[in-house]
Symmetry: C2
Subunit: 229 residues, 2 copies
DNA sequence: ACCTGAACACCGTTCAAGT
DNA sequence: ACCTGAACACCGTTCAAGT
């Protein structure tokens, strides 16, 4: 009985991976399963619940193997580079581990970013991910009163980066010939002219992400140092 | 002739403000203008171009009055708290000014965040916004080679925060009774238990945003100080 | 030059009916 | 218990036709 549900989820995720989130319609998913659209409803409730379930599964893949059965594991499909079963000792390494796992996941399943922004991640595994970052921040020495706020800051950046990468916000960039700079009067962009040598750099997003992580770690350390803030 | 286009844009933005981005269909916009759906196409090209134009207008509202005519200004409608015509002297103040203007705009028009993530902001005014942040970072003493990357880091956070606020990601929070913590085994969330006293804080998102800005400013200062990075 | 109307290929979801 | 088929109220967009 739960078997049918997993098959439906598999089909929906495959469809999202292959043809984007817009291609995930109840009709298309049903077609892939080989069934009438209406046959899905008893199993997934509605389209919104289907999307929530897809999100929950992906977040589960992000985490180290659970100690308890939060959700039935994916029946088939590639498990996408989860965190290593053994977490690193240093908080800095755990921070980078999680960040890279999240970004790699988002690159494999680009549709997750827009989903995460559009609905509260209330799946059990989402809470485990939050708890993982909480622990990183506590181990770094961040005062307890600041930990929840910093978790939101950091995960907002991770999500934003993933969404930007997936949605193409970083893609074209200000040097794109279609960037309509010509429509602006001379001198309207004073800072651009000074920075022309550096404006092609964002093609190397891997290096950029690493540098961002280094800056965020430094920020966390600074907050941990003067704990009176 | 351009008059009709502005009327259509007004209708689309009003619809988005009142009933959300999903309510902006070509048919609904046309109905509001008092015309057949197909009458829109000569003026706005397609739905995608209509959404781009809406985004361009909103970004224009964010900026101090342009020195050149980047776009015909909004014909009617509330102009939503743009930056003051006179920009602050200190980069810290300009940083906060811009961040607050962006957040207030996103609260007034919650649909902009999902739009910004889903298509590259290639409107002329978007480049002016990027240039404004470039200038702030340069004035802070950030090395030129790091400025474009830091602009993306900072604006990614701004956008992510706005999207999270608009989409409800911060909303329910981990203390929400529907947050299915009960489904997790005891001890699965070790850090949560230590932080229970602080988990209600995110209801005061205004204060949280200010604290985030302070941390980001500190990060920028740290990068400016050892310029050898 | 500008708009209309019918049409095409889609949506999510309800409801009564089948087996 | 599980699935189907027809229907309802929607989409964006094309195309030929009107004025």
């Amino acid at each position: 009985m739960e078997d049918r549900r997993q098959v439906i989820l598999d089909a929906a995720m495959a469809l999202a991976d292959e043809r984007g989130l817009d291609a995930v319609s109840m009709r298309a998913v049903a077609g892939r399963v080989g069934v009438t659209p209406m046959a899905l409803y008893p199993h997934v409730g509605s389209k919104a619940e289907l999307l929530d379930a897809m999100m929950g599964r992906l977040i589960g893949e992000l985490l180290p193997p659970s100690t308890g059965p939060a959700e039935v594991p994916a029946s088939a499909g590639q498990r996408a580079e989860p965190l290593p079963g053994q977490l690193a000792e240093r908080w800095q390494d755990r921070f980078d581990q999680f960040a890279h796992a999240a970004r790699n996941l988002a690159r494999r399943h680009p549709w997750i970013a827009s989903l995460l922004f559009s609905r509260p991640a209330v799946a059990p595994d989402a809470l485990r991910a939050v708890d993982l970052i909480y622990q990183v921040l506590l181990d770094a020495g961040v005062p307890e009163s600041q930990v929840p706020r910093l978790e939101r800051l950091v995960s907002t950046f991770f999500l934003g980066f993933a969404a930007s990468e997936a949605g193409g916000r970083f893609g074209a960039g200000p040097l794109d010939p279609r960037g309509r700079r010509e429509q602006l009067p001379e001198g309207a962009l004073p800072a651009f002219s000074r920075l022309v040598p550096w404006l092609g750099m964002h093609c190397r997003l891997d290096a950029e992400f690493d540098a961002d992580l280094a800056d965020l770690r430094q920020m966390i350390e600074a907050i941990a140092e003067h704990r009176d803030g």
